[in-house]
């Protein structure tokens, strides 16, 4: 596909996502934060359902060698980076998606968060340019390189190659795990609803007396 074609496809995809996220008020930050702080799971459930569909779809196509998987090595920097990101997104009250969506709704705080995300990226590029560590091309060879804290590259396609088992089998296992988490949330919600009913009943009884 031509460069212009790719950009048009990306823009159309982004526009539909922006519209759907705006209308549903989905927020990735809330999916994690609300579950931890308030035990509410409106966004967490949506995130899990999307991940189940994606795991099934991606691994199905990977089985037949289709799809453009992301190719880069991972290491401890992946964990550390997302840890820093996780703290940041809760403080900013928005993640990479919601900053764009809220900016589109006229939220100046989100625009501000976006500007400082750019600043943070630029500052990191200065640090990286000074020492090239850890995700430097020389340490990212596709193989584990423990000295550089790099663990190499592995995904459903490499699993299929290594074990000769279709990628979809691994995918279905992951879907089952995600579904188990989803079921656990539903059970927890049912208990919460039961508790709310009991409290409401006792209030009614107290009012009647």
């Amino acid at each position: 596909m031509s460069v212009v074609g790719e950009c048009i496809v990306a823009f159309i995809f982004g526009s539909v996502v922006g519209l759907l996220v705006q209308r549903s008020r989905f927020c990735n930050t809330a999916a994690l934060r609300d579950a931890m702080l308030f035990s509410t799971y409106r966004n967490t459930k949506a995130l899990l359902v999307a991940m189940m569909i994606l795991t099934f779809g991606f691994t199905l196509f990977i089985t037949f060698g289709e799809g453009k998987t992301m190719h880069f090595d991972v290491g401890l920097n992946t964990f550390a980076g997302l840890f820093i990101f996780g703290v940041g997104m809760v403080l900013a009250g928005a993640c990479t998606v919601s900053t764009w969506v809220k900016a589109g709704e006229g939220n100046i705080g989100a625009v501000w968060a976006l500007i400082f995300t750019f600043v943070g990226m630029f500052l990191f590029s200065l640090v990286w340019s000074a020492n090239y560590w850890p995700p430097a091309p020389v340490s990212m060879t596709g193989e584990p390189n423990l000295e550089a804290l790099q663990l190499g590259y592995a995904n459903a396609a490499t699993l299929q190659e290594k074990f000769g088992i279709p990628a979809i089998v691994f995918g279905l296992m992951q879907v089952a795990v995600l579904y188990a988490i989803y079921r656990a949330i539903l059970r927890k919600e049912a208990i919460q609803a039961g508790h709310h009913r009991d409290v409401a009943k006792s209030h009614e009884a107290a009012a009647a007396e």
Binding site: V3, V9, A10, F11, F13, G14, S15, V17, V21, R23, R25, N28, L32, R33, A46, V49, A50, I53, L54, F58, I62, K68, T69, M70, V74, N77, T78, G81, L82, F83, G86, V87, G88, M89, V90, C95, T96, V97, W100, V101, K102, E105, G106, G109, W112, F116, T117, F118, G120, M121, L123, S125, S129, Y132, P135, P137, L151, Y153, N155, F170
Partner: protein
């Protein structure tokens, strides 16, 4: 239109997004945001610094500024789509953070997000909607990281709210 009056169930919205993401995965690659933002950072820096930017290895080796990078347009699309959605639903209006502490939290949060994305080479979108569904090893590392980070962040957030 009914669509612009009621709030859409996020499960339905995310199911639709997931199906579209599968198509995107087949055509150009799974949904990510951090990469496009990095490229925008490079393009903005280029406006200010010109050729001096090329002297920094990061902008020479890893992200050579290129306006034809498709991931940029996902982000611009999200901005556009959200604007259209908000306008048609009469939900568009300018909102400013009120207190100084909010401005400060957003500033620090934004900086941490930027640094985190570049250190990890992934953002939260590629973690949940790309890497993990591809069963990439990085997805599991990234999820553990973001859950731990969100937990610490929530703890700080709660402290600030209570204080």
């Amino acid at each position: 239109m009914e669509f612009f009056k009621k709030t859409l169930d996020p499960v339905i919205a995310l199911m639709a997004i997931a199906v579209l993401d599968i198509f995107l995965f087949l055509i150009v690659g799974a949904w990510t945001v951090g990469g496009g933002e990095t490229m925008m950072t490079g393009l903005i820096a280029e406006v200010f610094m010109g050729d001096d930017l090329k002297r920094l290895p990061f902008w020479n080796l890893v992200f050579v500024p290129d306006a034809g990078y498709w991931k940029i347009y996902i982000s611009l699309g999200m901005l556009f789509g959200a604007f259209v959605g908000a306008k048609l639903s009469n939900e568009f209006y300018l909102r400013f953070p009120r207190r100084m502490s909010e401005w400060l939290m957003i500033t620090i949060g934004g900086l941490l997000m930027g640094v985190g994305i570049r250190l990890a080479f992934v953002c939260n979108v590629s973690t949940f909607f790309g890497l993990t569904p591809e069963m990439n090893l990085g997805g599991y590392l990234a999820i553990s990281g973001i859950v731990a980070g969100a937990w610490v962040g929530s703890f700080i957030y709660k402290k600030i709210l209570e204080g």
